[in-house]
Symmetry: C2
Subunit: 326 residues, 2 copies
Amino acid sequence: MTQATKTLADQVRQGDRRALAKAITLVESTRDDHRQQTAELLETLIPDAGNSIRIGISGAPGVGKSTFIEVLGSHLIQLGHSVAVLAVDPSSAVTGGSILGDKTRMETLAFAEKAFVRPSPAGSTLGGVARRTRESMLVCEAAGFDIILVETVGVGQSETAVADMTDMFLLLLLPAGGDELQGIKRGIMELADLILVNKADGDQVALAALTMGDYRSAVQFLASRFDDWQTPVMSCSSINDEGIVEVWGQVDAFKEILSKTGQLQQRRAEQAKAWMWSEMTESLVADLKADERIRSLVPDIESAVLAGELPATVAAQRVLNLYKDR
Amino acid sequence: MTQATKTLADQVRQGDRRALAKAITLVESTRDDHRQQTAELLETLIPDAGNSIRIGISGAPGVGKSTFIEVLGSHLIQLGHSVAVLAVDPSSAVTGGSILGDKTRMETLAFAEKAFVRPSPAGSTLGGVARRTRESMLVCEAAGFDIILVETVGVGQSETAVADMTDMFLLLLLPAGGDELQGIKRGIMELADLILVNKADGDQVALAALTMGDYRSAVQFLASRFDDWQTPVMSCSSINDEGIVEVWGQVDAFKEILSKTGQLQQRRAEQAKAWMWSEMTESLVADLKADERIRSLVPDIESAVLAGELPATVAAQRVLNLYKDR
């Protein structure tokens, strides 16, 4: 390992903010030499990582995720915690923007000493963004942050990715009648360890109560992700700072119960193992797709499969043989 | 292609039952030379495949899947259809048995001229069982069967596999109160294009009606898998042959609506493409895992990852480099 990487690791461990930012920039880089340095850095830091509660926060655009995170985060800092906010937002690769890019939406946190807010890295694939977020999480933990909040805007499969890298998954909803709820993406509700009806304020209070009732009956039909934990449904108002303390109370309860039964540790171990294998699989497929002859062949094969002229298994075998006979 | 394979293909196309059984036995074999013959066979048959409606049927053990399939299948044969019944049951690999193995549960179908009942192949992995079921489906279609029913016992991820290889997914339930419904596996309800409360007979009729109501309110919260199709919730009694005709009416409506909008064709194309890539990925990983040095290395690496001593990405990279430097 280079001296520079070693120094960077030491500075991160000491909680040096600029070193932390620098380390995460390194983690986010796709340059081969940077990936190599990142590997060394992560291997050095990992003994100091893991001492945090990792919380995924999802919800449709407009549900008020940023304000919620701002208020929750400020509350946690007052309790003496240090809070890192990361984001998984593959769409930022397209838009070039980021769900956390607009720091003004998180003024307090963005500039608080005990907080660290990092926008979603631009990444072409969800897998790429997710990997870098997982790695950034380790770096933040090594830097001493004991609470990691991972925001996702909830496009496509990003919630699943976030649920797979966090201990607990929060789903934010708006006060809304049953019919309007249909837009919720398939399977997201099942990921939620805590369902939160946000914006329960002003003339929305009554509607929020109705929404809570609807979801409480709905979650009955869903198997909970953990033994001894049935997904609670609560409401809060971020702008009025109402219900936030109660939300954190549930997070504490969740952490205590699942730590006691060992489910939390088991879940993290499973996540790490699954992550390793998905990393390997993704890289393998990427390597295959990078093969010149295969790249030139795949379009024809795919269209033959789509046209129902070539069985998928036969097509797959052909490509594989090409790859292995390199 | 060998003459034998060509002959077999011709006999299958002519609807020769013994040839069909022989072809599926070939499809189910894992022997390399058999896999090669299978590839040739499928490539010959695929132009004649695809002319069926593929229906996945899932439900917990004891819900009455076999009786339902027996009654539905007999009804369809009377309507002039020919029905092939396949099964995806990875557990049969363990038990050695099969969910459709007990033919006596399907006496009419098992011996009907226009029906073909095939137990789940013994397979070590769900992927393997699923692949052979997909391939058997093509063979049955080439043999002229216009309705394919794929039964799954609903263990682990088998429902997802079946939903990914069929046009429509039926979920069978028992009449039961809300509390007892919690056992339903995460995400299965979202896969359902039609929810069916079976055993709505005798003193269960009232309870079945309640169950229907519960699920009708529950499905409101789930996004439908297709535009223009909201999952209906119905009840039926297989033993009294009540509601079966209505069920098929819904299947017809589903097929008509989704064919009109082109969603059915699009879904099949996507399934074929996804199948091709998952085939490729699985085979690649299998090839990697078969590597001697990697096999001896993986346990240590995995335990280091599980212990939090080695970052998953670093571990993955190490294994990959070993594989590529062969």
